[in-house]
Amino acid sequence: MRELSRLSRRGFGQGLGLALVLAGPAEGALAAEGEPVAQVMIRRFNFEPALVTIRAGDSVEWINADLAPHTATGLADDWDTGSMARNASSRIRFDVEGRYSYRCVFHPNMTGEVLVIARDEN
């Protein structure tokens, strides 16, 4: 429940996200507040760009421009933006270096990746 209080999503239909958070978020991937350093537009059932690179501790914001709701969800269901309705957005902070592959749980053919590098890496 500790992580639940850190959620700060805008949008609707957060039931799925709530369930996943209760199941336990991934170490290093948390719902975030503050300014994101990278944005991913969800448009025509694609994540654009499909790959974003950030530094550990930074956040990514997903913005849904489609009519249909979407999510950005870790492949192991270990982190999740929750459902984003049209024009809604959600942010996740990534604290640990690594590759975070994800998909939309509603439309599994939609995939993307967040590459998290060390803060002092060029």
């Binding site: 025509r44 059932f45 489609d66 009519l67 249909a68 709701p69 309705a85 049209r86 509603f106 439309h107």
Partner: protein, 175 residues
């Protein structure tokens, strides 16, 4: 169910759609028909959730309900913004008649028979509706926001069509 069944679904739905869509429809009739087509697929989805025990079929049905509700919500917002009401028409009535018949057929099935019948119907239904939206609705709509909405909705429906195709293949319904 086999490929002949899919062909029959397409033929029946296409006949209903093309017989009326070929008539020139006004914007409000098109809005009504599009809304009706969405609502029909939402009902198919609820039926699938009530009958199917296949996880992939149930997941697809949930997606249909979620996405088509989102499209219809956007349509409702647009109509309210424009302060107009959609107009009932022959195509809408024909779609509803065809859907009632299909639901009766689906409700008589269980297990794999239902799953395949539902999957094949979803594929055929989206093929016909998508062709109708692309070829008969979007080119003649005069109000720009409605054209934009239909164009955006078509993106969603084409993803559904592809998803339905993969579901049919995975269920091995044609074999």
């Amino acid at each position: 169910m086999n490929t002949l069944s899919l062909a029959m679904i397409v033929a029946v739905t296409a006949t209903a759609a093309s017989a009326h869509a070929d008539d020139v429809m006004n914007d409000l009739e098109i809005a009504h028909a599009a809304y009706t087509a969405d609502a029909i697929d939402i009902r198919y989805g609820h039926l699938a959730l009530a009958i199917s025990e296949n996880d992939a079929v149930r997941s697809f049905a949930e997606t249909m309900i979620r996405d088509h509700n989102a499209v219809n919500a956007a349509a409702g917002e647009l109509l309210a913004e424009l302060n107009v009401s959609p107009q009932d028409n022959a195509l809408s009535r024909s779609l509803l008649e065809g859907a009632a018949s299909k639901r009766a057929e689906l409700m008589s099935l269980t297990g794999r028979e239902f799953d395949c019948a539902y999957a094949l119907n979803e594929l055929g239904y989206h093929q016909v509706v998508n062709a109708t939206v692309a070829d008969s609705f979007i080119p003649v709509v005069t109000v720009a926001p409605l054209r934009t909405l239909l164009t955006d909705a078509l993106v969603t429906f084409r993803v559904h069509e592809a998803h339905a195709g993969r579901m049919v293949t995975a269920l091995e319904c044609a074999s």
